[in-house]
Symmetry: D3
Subunit: 320 residues, 6 copies
């Protein structure tokens, strides 16, 4: 969407309505015509840490307005290449899936249906959380795009069985996905922190065949080797918990962590993941603007990682 | 609780562990021996506005450490009187009722049982929210102390029937209480704001016999007349949504409101309510420190209203 | 705009894309079909105080999502009346007029053209500033809707002749409007503060025939008398500088002021102004979210004053 | 101090070095030639509440740059009068009295000597705190300007005898002044809050002959009557603790209070006090920018009250 | 301490009273039965930089509630090991040592006595500052646990002789410790910054036999070599000034520094130090929550470093 | 400037008037006698990102008070050397060049004249921005010190031709300098980010002969090699956009960037640049305190880089 102007509009970052990257808005999914469909899942009712992630989609959209996509594409001086030309790729913002207060089942149902509808319309869903429990309905809604492997970026393993009886908290999405028929293998990148999960969770994940690497382990073996160890296949779903990033740049989340990944590392990992196969969709969760700094560092990081990843994904499709 | 000191400790506000007003802690309710039992209900999963109220109990406790109760009592120069002498009144902090992520029923059950246990131990429960839905289990747990009238301070009527199927949101506590056998009449003080509730909600409340007054209406008739219109009876439960207070002093909440009550007005109303009869318990809800200012103005307001109200309640008991 | 939902969506305040009051978006003004057209003028390059007001439209839109308009209208319990039914009134968000960095003339031209186009399409423009200099092109663009009187709410008189040669700063809009052929009389409500304008500015304004009242003077004579003194006529343009409001609720602006108006006073004044005649348009300027509190008190105040005023304006049209 | 400019400089509020009201700086007191000398006392080591007031002088200076004094004087439209013409009055910023970490005695000695030197140079000292304990050396340094009455604006009585052995804390300045030979009577305006002082402190103050009025008592009898009850005499020292102001506009302090004075009330009181007799000096203490809002509301309030009071004091001298 | 619950409580991080890691509270040191005793020393009256560290203990406790210790211990997936099992180790929070406003001597005496009492009860003291001057009484109180070497993590050398006569400021603890009979050698890790100390201070420290290494020097020689150069002995006292950490993760302190240590580096250093010998106690000082971000990054860093170090210390004891 | 004191003043960081590094103030440039003249250019009207940089000079000055220069010089323990002895170097703060609201030409003229006057007085100008457009008048004013090469630190190339007709925005300074007769070659260090400039801008810069290196490219070839590739010559102008620094330590700017330089890297680069030849002046731009954290991390970084660079520049002069 462009500003009103007598001349070619400048569309400065601070101006205009805050859809994702100022792309066109389509809240009626039945009318969706797009290659990439961004949708918010502002549900934070099953979070274990500090609540607030329901404002994540808004926060990410606000900072994403520093980007805008053009016919010639966005130029990257380091790679000497262009990305996300609007002549080739149609990115659309679909607004949010409805949140029902205190009703996890109804809220999940909306998210699941939204994702499935987007896929059925031929677009790749990009879901803005919300806490990490929203990955459960996202993965469910992707059933028609599967089977697929899962690449999971997080500080936490998220293989909890239950918290006080709750099996669908933000600590459980990976255990839940493991139980889905259309989910194949999982790789967990960035896991670290004493006491963040129980040993039995790790044991179950390993028994399921998961790959688990901490930031220090990734640095030790290198990014190329890390990518080489990821499961091979045709299709991948990627789930990014923003708390995988070091809290020096990702304080705006419910459970920020010291010792996480840095921006350049994450970009290199995402670029590699984009080359593994078809990305059927991805989510980025746990952004809570209430805990972000006044400059919006975490929200901008989230927006930038999404846009970077979209660039890498579409570049692969262009090349293949 | 007092600091370690070689002399009589000064116990400055900024020091010591942050229990409510630095009172003794008793997290095992079966051991509770107290006149007044403060307990947190850090549940915000059924909130309609901005989430965050699960940190309310912590935020209130932190600011409450500016108070401390002593054997001689706290002196009020304007009333030339002493309040809350520890020789007469034992106030205890019971910690929090457990929150189960995403599970409203289980979280409510913990709150209800905690309140009922406190009452059964002979203490008056003072519940720190959490969003306003926690008033539902609080009122349930007070059944053994009823029947009672309800004095409800709020900007919003909270008589919603359902939000997307959810009947136990923070917009529904008054409709829920109206359906409880041990709840008698209700008075709603401070209600205002275009569009905050539907006309049908007002109609149902009036049909139930509720008194509804806005801040402007209270100012017009005066506080004495306001108090005179409250239902008469033996017992009262009081529920205070912090957003009844003007947002110039209560920004730290999910849905702050312009045009609310000011501190002196609220204190005068609480002093009058304390004189109506036996207060069987009260809650103060919707404090969300994430939206408070850096000075903790809202959290301190909440702590101070609670302590003021406790002073008035115990003064009445001393006099009767 | 509504969220995706399998049932009737709840559309909670924290969800959905942040257009004004979640209304439909129409950034192509040539296609505009609306009764009321909200448009941003995010220009802050001619501000004398702290810069930042270019983020005003975004900040107001974000908080305005606490409102949404419905077919039955928004119910006001105090007036027992409904406002802004979508069956009767079509409110549309037109996005922003383009800002050209450092080029006041080009930025003004965009604002002026946008306003004139909106008027020519039969809609009433509601302009979100930006600093107060944007009132100059707004008033210019309203020429086809004139002649009209100006009701100006502000702490500052804004009749400066020049600041270092600059005749179009945020201190000059009233002097500039006084020189426009289609502008009739002006009333300045809320002016106060030692040293905020020069005596010669006051003298020129009085010579032009302006009414000038401070908050204390308004309180002394009462709101009814204040309204009675306003110029009589058929058409009015209203310009609201948010710093007319007391800084206890309006800190989020470049030059906040102690001793300003309170919310209830302002609402009563706006309700009276709406009854004076046809409001040809209005702006609300100088909101700078960078200086607002974490709760968005000033941005929400701005959104609420706009929505309240729209309610009063449309109510008058319904009644006449 | 003026900005570098090829033309008459505009000297916008946000520009230039932050001395008080951008006045000339004279840090060598032996060279001081001024009518009014502003000096900081950034000492907060004897504070009972939250520390931070050592940054008070900086915070006040920063916001004070919204003022600047000119040859014609600052025009007040409500009083239709001019204030603080630089042709008549020379205001100078003397920087700060040195703070020795953890050494109350040495820090006090510096403040006391600075004040005494300023008085001996024929200027009226205006001291920016620091916590309220700095009033002790300020009052000592004013001995050569006495005897005088004290007008004390505060939420707290500040007549504590000792806190853990400390007799010179920010709770004790009034008891300390009462013991000084050159201090006559004291009036305490704005005192309120349950538990803020012991009854014995009030008893001692009353026995000394002090006048004590709360905000509510002031409102009840009116400002004229309040002023009428103040002690009569030739000379007055005024001490303003910013926490006398309601925390809706004065959150930036160690112990902010609900139920305090509002800006218009305080201005009227200060205007009346300025007419009582010769003001030998005044201080404004307890501003702690760490707890202020992002807009600097408290710091600006402090700067404005100081400048308003200076206007009233000099106006009286002009008239007499 | 555990929340009230009808089932096994979940005890989410945001819930419950904020003692250190939610451990049991014992404010009467004469009753202390513990292996590890956490105690606050909220004294910031001798700080040279920005004040505020008196709120350090509260800030650290608040963030430490993200941890809790269990019978099975906390699992570390990278080391595949368990830490701090409550079956083996009893950690207790002893509240704070009393602060006397403006009285360094009395405040120091309380800290010294508290530490000595804890040691005499057989527990290892972990002291939460407060500014770095509190290390003086901490080291004094540890006399009965000495002689010991000192491992000092800091950006600043802290060997100042005097500041304006003050010999016990936060710039002097190392010079003071050097003069204590029970203090053996000192190693200073992380020292850097132009102008942070005088050359004579460095000369005196080197003359005393101290090891001094900057972050860049540590990185150059590696952590293994750094550890190898530390003094050998039986007992060690460790003092951690949070400003040794890079200000990207430790902004919440009086004098934050660019170019400091990162989390992973510090953890590795602490793990190595734990293996040197018996740690007789440690402190972590200079956390000032007023300057921390809204997410509590610095406070959480402090809590995590303490908990990590406790894990390493107890692991060594388990193994030996 | 020194505090008033009875003894040798301590001049703590938090005290005294905030000139740059507490140096003497000389706002009348015709009287300037100095080696180094710091001057503010608080102009942000041509910024494309978030406005606010007009408060940059104030923000930098405030944090710079943590430094102060002494006769013996500032000691660096790592280099075992002294810097910026006041016996050898006179640093003076000249206040700000006047900003005319909305008038880019007039504001630029003031900056240009100020810089030229400083140079003509024999001092090296150090200019505090303001947005990056101020480099245009700075470079113009340096004409009498040229010809010189330009070393440009930035995330962005700043070779834009026009934004909506504006050729003098903060995206254009390098293209503007390229057109100046006295500007020789340019090197751009730190450039990165997809979409931050158009390919045609890079092409024009390369055609002009510019060196362009990203942070990753600098790390790959090393700092020594980076320095070796810089243009050789006698004189250099250095322009530092604070957004070249990673946003983990430089969030306080209009367009903060992930993936930027870290402090130690930048210091090493600046030390190398200082050795290239005569630095005729430098600016540091785009600091916007509104977006900085509560601790002032970005402002302090700016102050420290300036002071470090001044140390390296003067050290080179001492040695040559």
């Amino acid at each position: 969407m462009s500003n009103f102007s007598l001349r070619e509009p400048v569309n400065l970052a601070s101006t205009g309505i805050a859809s994702f990257a100022k792309t066109a808005i389509c809240t009626n999914l039945d009318d969706l015509i797009a290659d990439i469909a961004v949708i918010g899942a502002p549900c934070d009712i099953s979070i274990q840490g500090r609540s607030g992630a329901r404002l994540g989609p808004r926060g990410i959209r606000l900072q994403s307005t520093r980007f805008s996509y053009s016919p010639e594409g966005s130029y990257d001086p380091e790679r000497d290449d262009f990305y996300l030309s609007t002549k080739q790729w149609r990115v659309v913002d679909c607004g949010d899936a409805d949140l029902v207060p205190g009703d996890l089942e109804a809220s999940f149902a909306n998210i699941e249906a939204a994702v499935r509808t987007i896929v059925s319309r031929g677009a790749m869903p990009v879901v803005l959380g919300g806490d990490h429990s929203i990955t459960i309905p996202v993965a469910r809604g992707l059933d028609i795009a599967g089977p697929f492997h899962v690449i999971h970026f997080d500080s936490h393993l998220d293989w909890s069985y239950t918290r006080g009886g709750q099996r669908y908290s933000n600590g459980s999405p990976c255990r839940c996905m493991a139980a889905m028929a259309h989910v194949d293998k999982m790789a967990h990148l960035g896991i670290h922190g004493i006491g963040s999960s129980q040993k039995s969770d790790f044991a179950d994940a390993l028994a399921y065949g998961d790959l688990i690497l901490s930031p220090k382990q990734i640095r030790k073996i290198g990014i190329a080797e890390t990518l080489a160890r990821l499961p091979r296949g045709e299709r991948y779903f990627v789930s990014i918990d923003i708390d995988v990033m070091d809290c020096s740049i990702a304080a705006g989340t419910g459970s920020p962590m010291h010792g996480g990944l840095y921006y350049d590392e994450m970009v290199e990992l995402l670029e590699g993941v984009a080359r593994l196969g078809t990305i059927v969709g991805f989510d980025l969760v746990e952004v809570a603007p209430q805990y972000d700094d006044l400059s919006g560092t975490t929200c901008y990081l989230a927006a930038r990682l999404i846009s970077d990843f979209l660039g890498f994904i579409t570049k692969e499709r262009e090349l293949s």
